[in-house]
Symmetry: C3
């Protein structure tokens, strides 16, 4: 492999420390120590002298003195611990990092207009400033809101809607009736609206039940690469406002994902399950059909939920149990063969005493 | 998000209750209570006064009185319990629901013919009434049976065959030699025929073994979105007649999936495993390579099979055990820390007595 | 389904036994028993009299006498046990099989040049003998090395690089900055470079952190169908030389997969985890974020790693434990309800004796 010359992303601008402080609405301290121009953002460990880094945790405060970074973004809580270092003090470090990255690394503007190879059906309504990439296929009656972006190779079945400022990065497929809200981001390979997997055994053989419901994706949702969200049998499958869904996740027919849920990669949610608001699920969690998971539940990676979960519960394991219990059980489980031996020893002692 | 005006699927026809009974070959009872026209099908909970609903279980009978539905589809077994309600009595409720849905919500007819942007290789054989969508790519020597439908962006490698009345919804990829039977339905993003994952350690490094076998998908199979079915090392990978495979499932090289199997989402079946007829697998089940799962086995979600399974067994857990045992073990497992304390208490008592 | 006439792959050439020996640099023994021409390669069980088979294990030696194969490929270790059979003796059976398959079943040559429907951006650098298939989309500034092959429907974002003799089979999507080394093989539906899944809770709501790093895929890597490899938050996600990744695998942002790792289907590796060289992971393994897995670790199917793993360890279970312990624990676990009963019996005996 050829030597990669430029490892880091190339910043669009090289601000001064004072400019960074102004962008972030933060206070520059010990700014004299900063280089004239800052060339980008990096982690504490990887930053060069001309780069900005950030301190977002107590652990990071310990690492910061060894960092070569020329400017640090810190919270008021950590500002004094790093006295002497050029730093910008901001109320919310992660919010500042996100804002700074948008300045330093603005995503390329999508090409304007409809690519000549895109196939656009009849009665399609296009908002202002939409971008439709090469080889997209839009069925009859689709609607794209203002500023909506379809990257290359997206397919929209008839009558699908994509809201204002939403972006389908590339090769996203919407089948059946799909309604996408505003500012939604969908990564390549996602398939939204395929038939729910619903078969009933009739005379011993699986009979396919038609799936005629829709999928509704509310505003500000993000959906990962190659994730699948099936349409409903009747009525709808719904992903609530601001929910974030990682790659290779399966959302079955008629599921409701509550607003603000965060589902890590390879989670699977079976038919008609209901997730409340703000649930967090680690990778590879499985949720059985028709159960309800309460608001704010936190489910550890690889857990299997097979019954309703009360709001706010932290669960782990398959079948799932309260997280603290899971760790106690896991510790005991590792010693189970030893317990079995000790049980046998007691029994033998008891048998011997019985013989006496 | 804009207000969604029309929540339910729009029925193509609005039948009378008598028409519904005629379509389904059922008997209309208390038909006087039905509205003049019925506008669609809905669940008991969601149905409006002008909609049809159905009673497919004992639980549904309890819910039916509270439903606003204007007409119910019921089995002879439940017909009397709902006396007074306008209802159609049919032998098989789910079969009737499926038939009714085909009348009310007929899927749109695929566009006829070969889209001008489709690229069709040499010596391709096309049956009558095939539909090939935009941007499809068909390699040399492919065959499509009568009425076969390829939605947009499907890719068929040279010499692939798709049988009569089969439908590749969109963006399905067939690579290597793939033979698809009749009336097969394949959802977007599925990849059939990619190289099996076969490496042998030679001199400590993984050596790729070429994969030159084929994939055979028999009649009436359904394959979910973004599912992957690999081609064989030699000979074939085969999915038996009528098997139903959900989204994001992995079927490895040389696997045989028996006829009528139902595999839920995210199941993974490793190389050369054999699944018998009519096996049911819940979501995220894993099957190790080279094992045999007997006919009619029922495997609970997230189970891990690492040894042959006799026919008809119901298993759960990883490693899997009989389902009843699994639930007993799971109940005991939750109490394991308590058992450990009780064991310790007995031991201490015993030690004290020994000292006496 | 129509009768499939030709079950086996069709060999491009039909060699004599002596030619096979010459191709493989092996010694032909008892060659008089071989047929004049050999028509292909098959497993011991499936081979016909005019086909070649191979003996790659002690178990295979037991099966070989019953095989109808006209010629066997065997190791020196097994050569005498099969005296009387026409056989070619080679140092490494699997290496010989792979070489023979390349002769018998050479993959079709990719069509030369750039398909007229491919859309190629500005300043794209194309090596000699590249092949770019129909409907590919290459962004500005991409680079393809000599002999690189892009099958149909591949999408490369601006400035992506694909090295010498690498092959993207079909419908592979590279987004963000992606650098692919030489001789890399990527199967259909893989998405490389999508946004990492990184959200920080700010004022109780998930805030998206921009992902501006790159993905580096080193030489000789293989990546399975519908697998997803996310780009880094900052700096890079990296898959080391010769690593082999199966279908539907999730590699999160900033992960490093060491050289020569073999990851089976549906494995998930969370953000910033580090896998050492030559790790082996069975299907559906989960690796938590920010942990380190040592060189040569062997992780059984469905295991969950939630802490650092020392080099060379063999682990299984979720949470993972040493593999031998896992099997002891699993055996004991199946008997846990019995242990609980025996514990209760001891306690009752003890209570009775206390009463005396």
């Amino acid at each position: 492999m050829k030597q990669i010359v430029k490892d880091h992303a190339h910043a669009a601008v090289e601000p001064t420390a004072a400019q960074v402080a102004e962008w972030l609405g933060g206070e520059l301290k010990d700014g004299a120590g900063a280089p004239g121009r800052l060339s980008g953002l990096a982690t504490l460990a990887e930053a060069r002298e001309d780069e900005i880094s950030f301190v977002a945790s107590d652990k990071a405060v310990q690492e910061a003195p060894a960092s070569r970074a020329g400017l640090l973004i810190v919270s008021p809580h950590h500002a004094d611990a790093l006295a002497g270092r050029a730093r910008v003090v901001v109320a919310e470090v992660w919010a500042a990092v996100a804002r700074l990255m948008e300045r330093l690394y603005p995503p390329p503007a999508p090409p304007p207009g409809i690519h000549p190879t895109a196939i656009v059906g009849r009665d399609v309504k296009l908002g202002h400033d939409v971008s439709v990439g090469p080889y997209c296929v839009l069925g009859d009656g689709c609607e794209l809101g203002d500023g909506a972006v379809l990257g290359p190779h997206c397919i929209l079945d008839a009558a699908c809607r994509v809201g204002r400022a939403s972006r389908l990065v590339a090769r996203v497929t919407l089948v059946g009736r799909v309604e996408i809200g505003a500012r939604v981001l969908i990564h390549p390979g996602a398939v939204i609206g395929a038939d729910g997997f619903k078969f009933e055994l009739v005379a011993g053989a699986p009979l396919k039940i038609p799936q005629v419901g829709r999928v509704v994706i509310e505003d500000d949702v993000e959906i990962g690469a190659n994730t699948t969200i099936d349409r409903a049998f009747l009525y709808e499958t719904r992903v609530g406002r601001g929910a974030k869904i990682d790659n290779l996740v399966q959302i079955a027919h008629n599921v409701h994902v509550g607003p603000g849920c965060i589902l890590a990669a390879q989670v699977g949610v079976a038919g008609s399950a209901r997730l409340g608001a703000g649930c967090l699920m680690g990778g590879q969690v499985g949720v059985r059909d028709n159960i309800t998971v309460g608001d704010g539940a936190m489910i550890g990676a690889q857990a299997g939920l097979n019954a309703d979960v009360p709001p706010g519960q932290a669960l782990q394991g398959s079948p799932a149990m309260p997280m603290k219990q899971f760790w106690r059980v896991s510790a005991a489980l590792a010693r189970l063969p030893e317990y079995a031996r000790r049980l046998r020893a007691l029994e033998m002692k008891d048998e011997e005493e019985s013989k006496k």
